[in-house]
Structures are given as C-alpha cells and as structure tokens.
C-alpha cells in the first residue's frame, strides 16, 4: 500500500465519505503504522472538538433589532414611493394644466359666444365614457393646432419632459422597492 493512500483514507474518514471496505483497510493500516495512527488520533481530537462544541444561543435582541431595521427600510420605500407618485402626477398635471390654459386663452380670443357653444358641446360629452379624451381631442384638433408653432413646441416639450421625469422616477421606485412591490424576476 502506498504512503499516500492511507493518508487519503484518514482524510476521507473525516470527510464522512468512506465505505466499509475502505474502513477495514484504514483500521488495518492504523494498527501497523504509528505515523498514521498519530495523525488519525490528533485529527479525531481536533475534528471531534470542532463538531462537538455546541452551537451558541443568539443574541436575545437580534430579532427585534432586525425587524426595526426592516420596518424602517420598508417605510422609507413607502415614503419614496409616495414622493415619486406626487412628482409623477404633479408633472402630468402641470403639463395638462399648461395645455388647457393655453387652449382656454385661445378660446377666449375666439370670442365668448363661441366658447359657450363649445362648452355646451363639451358638456354634452361629459356623460360619455372617455369624455376627457374627447375634450382633449377637440382642444387639440380645434385650438392647439392654431397656436403659434413655438407655443406648441413649448407645451409639447414640457409634457414630454414631465412624462420622462415621471418614468425615470417610477423606474427608480420599481428598482428600490422591488421587494415591497412584490415584483419577481
């Protein structure tokens, strides 16, 4: 038997990876080789002490400390989410307000009577599903396209910027608050 093999067998014994026949070989060798017997004895003490030493009880305050930090983390997600929502809706509302204000100015310029007629027309559509889309359509179709090109560009730019900012912030909250949002990979 080569010198390396018994050493391997000793190690495999402590790996808990040794078969019955190999165990017999190991025992036979240990009874005739003082070096390997000493190695086995020493490792048996060392590994035994490592594996026998009982596990320790955790720090009593661990659970409370962890949950306090988890709740703080969770509420920070909520706060951030709330801010993002406000910014997002704020951006959209700002862009929409600017658009409607500009449109209203054009309506006033077109004359009060015309505005009233248009208002009656719009009131008629209030009861319909998608009324806001129709108002937007009429405003855009009848008024917005009559505005100076620079104003249209400005309003369009503000609207696109607002939506872009909202999307960026929304992506951020989706990333940071993934766990909170319950989104899976």
């Amino acid at each position: 038997m080569k010198r390396i093999e018994p050493h391997d067998l000793v190690m495999r014994y402590f790996d808990h990876d040794i078969g019955g026949q190999e165990m017999e070989l190991l025992h036979a060798h240990l009874s005739s080789c003082a070096d390997c017997a000493a190695l086995f004895s020493d490792l048996n003490k060392i590994v035994g002490a490592l594996e026998r030493t009982p596990q320790v009880e955790p720090w009593p305050g661990l659970e409370d400390a962890v949950m306090a930090r988890v709740r703080a983390l969770s509420s920070s997600y909520d706060r951030f989410g709330s801010i993002v929502m406000k910014v997002m809706y704020g951006s959209i509302m700002l862009a929409a307000s600017l658009l409607l204000s500009a449109a209203a100015l054009r309506v006033e310029a077109a004359g009060v009577i015309g505005f009233l007629f248009q208002g009656i027309d719009y009131l008629g559509t209030l009861m319909q599903i998608g009324w806001s889309l129709q108002i937007f359509y009429h405003l855009a179709d009848g008024l917005l396209f009559q505005m100076p090109e620079s104003a249209v560009r400005m309003i369009g730019g503000l609207f696109v910027t607002g939506v872009a900012v909202a999307l960026v912030l929304w992506t951020r909250i989706a990333w940071v608050g993934w766990v909170k949002q319950g989104t899976k990979d």
Binding site: L50, A65, V70
Partner: protein
C-alpha cells in the same frame, strides 16, 4: 373523541411570497426560524467580536432585500447561510487579525458532568478555535462551514464558487495545518 386541528406552519417559500406581497410580519417568522443559524455562522467566523451584532443584522437585511431573487429549488437555510458566509468572508478580508476573539467560544455550555472534564474540554475547544482563527481565510472558511456548520462539499463549493475538488483539497490541507499548529499543545489535547 374531539377532532384534532392540525395547524401547518407555513413553509419558508410561502413566507417569502407573503413578504413579497408587502406583509413584513412574515419576515419576522423567517428571522425567528433562522436567527440561531445566522448567529452561529457569524459567531464561528468572528468569535465574540463586537461586530457580530451588526453583521447578523446585516445578513437579515440582505436576505430581506434579496427575497425576490430566492430560488425555491434550493433550501432557504442554505441560501441564508450563503449570504451570511459571504458577508463574513468579506468582513474577514477587511479586518485585521484578532486571534484573541475566541474566548467566548470556549465558555459554551458543556453536557459533561465532571467539572474537571468540562474545564479540559473548554481548554481544548479554546485552543482549537484559536488555531482555526490563525488559518488563512481560504482554509478557515471550509473548516468552519464543514465541521461547524455541517455543510456538504457541494454546498460549500456553491458558496465559494469553487469546484468541489478545490474545497476538498483545502479542507484536507486545513486539517493538516491545524494539526501542525497544535503540535505543542497536542499532548494536552490527547489527555
């Protein structure tokens, strides 16, 4: 005969899904289940170091933030231990050597009734733990994970991102190094 109501504990994965739906209280059940495991992993790596408290909390925070990445094909305990072990390995790499941090390890309770045996057992445990603490990290980690935490080669290989053969060779080498470092006290240990 009154009917027995069997209340099944939710599985780890069910608790993970509950957490992901926004209910943080489910996470406290997971913490209760695995605080002992996490604490012992940290403790085996750090001894009674003051950073143990922060590290154990950080493990659970990382678990909480990574819940959406948990793969239920693997045991939750193995996943948690992987996070804990990697955090400890990074901590060990950044930390200066401090072999005097294992005193508490030897003061654990002992079932032996004989006070003298208890004392000797503590002495042995302390010397061995001190020797473990002096091993280079790449040898210390497999010793702790295999002999203290009871992980398999496959699990350790997964944690370290190393082939099983390397893990096995390092473990064999680590045992040999421990024996060499304990040569001067081996006579006492043999008693």
């Amino acid at each position: 005969m009154p009917e027995e109501t069997i209340i099944l504990e939710p599985s780890d994965y069910e608790l993970v899904k509950t957490c992901l739906s926004g209910r943080d209280d489910a996470f406290s059940t997971l913490v209760a289940r695995y605080k002992r495991l996490v604490w012992n992993v940290i403790y085996n790596f750090t001894g009674d170091h003051p950073d143990s408290h922060d590290l154990s909390q950080e493990v659970f925070l990382r678990v909480y933030r990574s819940l959406h990445r948990y793969n239920p094909e693997y045991k939750f305990s193995t996943w948690v231990m992987r996070i804990a072990a990697n955090l400890c390995i990074n901590w060990l790499r950044k930390k200066k050597p401090d072999p005097a941090s294992v005193d508490e390890m030897a003061s654990v309770k002992d079932n032996r009734s004989n006070p003298e045996e208890q004392y000797l057992e503590k002495e042995r445990a302390q010397r061995i733990q001190e020797a473990v603490a002096t091993l280079p990290i790449k040898y210390r980690v497999p010793i702790i994970l295999f002999h203290r935490q009871g992980l398999s080669y496959k699990e350790i290989a997964g944690i370290l991102n190393q082939p099983e053969t390397i893990v096995k060779n390092r473990l064999h080498r680590a045992r040999q190094m421990l024996r060499d470092r304990l040569t001067f006290v081996m006579e006492d240990i043999r008693t």
